[in-house]
């Protein structure tokens, strides 16, 4: 599995070389796009991280987790993931903040962190996407698609936690 990534890079570099692409120039241009993207993201990250920090320090997050844990446990979702699962549909940077926190707190190879990683990777920020995709178009009836996506996201979370037990 670890082999896949270097092989992918070598293949793409090789093909680009064959096509006479200026590899160094273009690779740096890609990295420069990455910088622009991240710089645009920093203010949102700052706001969301401040919110998360307040939420944690004020002990409200513990209360919420306590409240919802029985429901989540019933479906086999560890209570430590409650906040991640709740924030994911609304904010990519927010859920990233919680994912990073979980990985740091429990260790990258713990069951909790692996569950969180799989959950994070298999769902998206539904509300953000629906806003961006349909901005400026004639109003659409999006309730049904959004509900379908939310149900599917919840079932996928249950499935992820189940899969991580033995994979």
């Amino acid at each position: 599995m670890a082999l896949l990534i270097p092989v992918l890079f070598i293949a793409v570099f090789g093909f680009a070389l064959f096509k006479k692409v200026k590899i160094y120039d273009e690779f740096s241009a890609g990295a420069s796009d990455a910088l622009k993207f991240v710089v645009k993201l920093i203010p949102c990250l700052a706001a969301v991280f401040m919110m998360c920090e307040l939420f944690e320090v004020s002990a409200l997050s513990d209360k919420l987790t306590e409240l919802l844990s029985p429901v989540f446990s019933f479906f086999g979702i560890p209570p430590e993931l409650t906040k991640l699962v709740l924030i994911k549909p609304f904010s990519g940077s927010g859920s990233l903040a919680y994912l990073n926190g979980i990985i740091e707190k429990y260790g990258a190879d713990s069951y909790i962190a692996r569950c969180a990683s799989v959950c994070f990777g298999s769902s998206e920020t539904v509300f953000y996407i629906s806003a961006v995709y349909f901005a400026g178009l004639k109003p659409k009836k999006l309730a049904a698609p959004i509900i379908i996506v939310m149900i599917s996201a919840f079932l996928t979370t249950v499935l992820s936690c189940f899969l991580c037990r033995f994979m």
């Binding site: 680009a16 993207f37 991280f49 990777g121 298999s122 769902s123 995709y133 992820s160």
Partner: protein, 184 residues
């Protein structure tokens, strides 16, 4: 997100004001600091993958992948709109490689094209596919775990693949069935 941010911020601030007001400002500053550390980590991840994506794009590899996906896309999305199909194919290719940031502009373009044909079925289906995430390589997650000292950061590859495949297929199937029956 505006409503959520405001509510959580205000309620937490009020709770802190009662219990430990001296912690209020330090926790905000700590949040800002964490955001910056995170941004550095993210830049490293995106620099690697967007650099690679740029090479794939310039060498025509992305276009070739898009071309291969086009016939299948035409059938699934019930459209013959060429430029919409190309954007859809590019969007899916970027998603599969786990570069969601690069996928969004293509989706927006495709949805705009489909608007001309009033093909809401294809628009909503594309939305569902994107909103349920279709990554094959969860690049961000792997990089975060590597940074935190994981022994084998890529070991979530298989469960991730199964989970993401399930979420997309499930949602798309329900939507298609629902569309046939109730036209939503």
């Amino acid at each position: 997100m505006n409503a959520i941010f405001t509510v959580i911020f205000l309620v937490s601030a009020a709770a802190l004001a009662i219990t430990a007001p001296q912690n209020f400002l330090p926790s905000l500053l700590k949040g800002g600091e964490k955001a910056l550390t995170m941004a550095v980590t993210l830049f490293c991840i995106y620099a690697v993958w967007m650099g690679l994506a740029r090479l794939a794009e310039k060498s025509g590899l992305s276009k070739a992948a898009a071309k291969a996906l086009k016939p299948a896309c035409g059938k699934i999305f019930k459209t013959h709109n060429e430029s919409a199909l190309e954007s859809i194919a590019m969007n899916l290719s970027c998603n599969l490689l786990g570069i969601g940031g690069a996928a969004t502009p293509y989706a927006v373009k495709a949805i705009g094209e489909l608007e001309k044909d009033e093909n809401t079925f294809a628009q909503k289906l594309l939305f569902i596919i994107n909103a349920t995430s279709v990554q094959v390589v969860p690049t961000t997650v792997i990089a975060l775990r590597t940074g935190a000292g994981s022994a084998n950061a890529a070991d979530i590859f298989l469960p991730s693949l199964l989970a993401t495949a399930f979420s997309t297929l499930f949602a798309a199937a329900i939507y298609m069935a629902g569309y046939k029956k109730w036209r939503f």
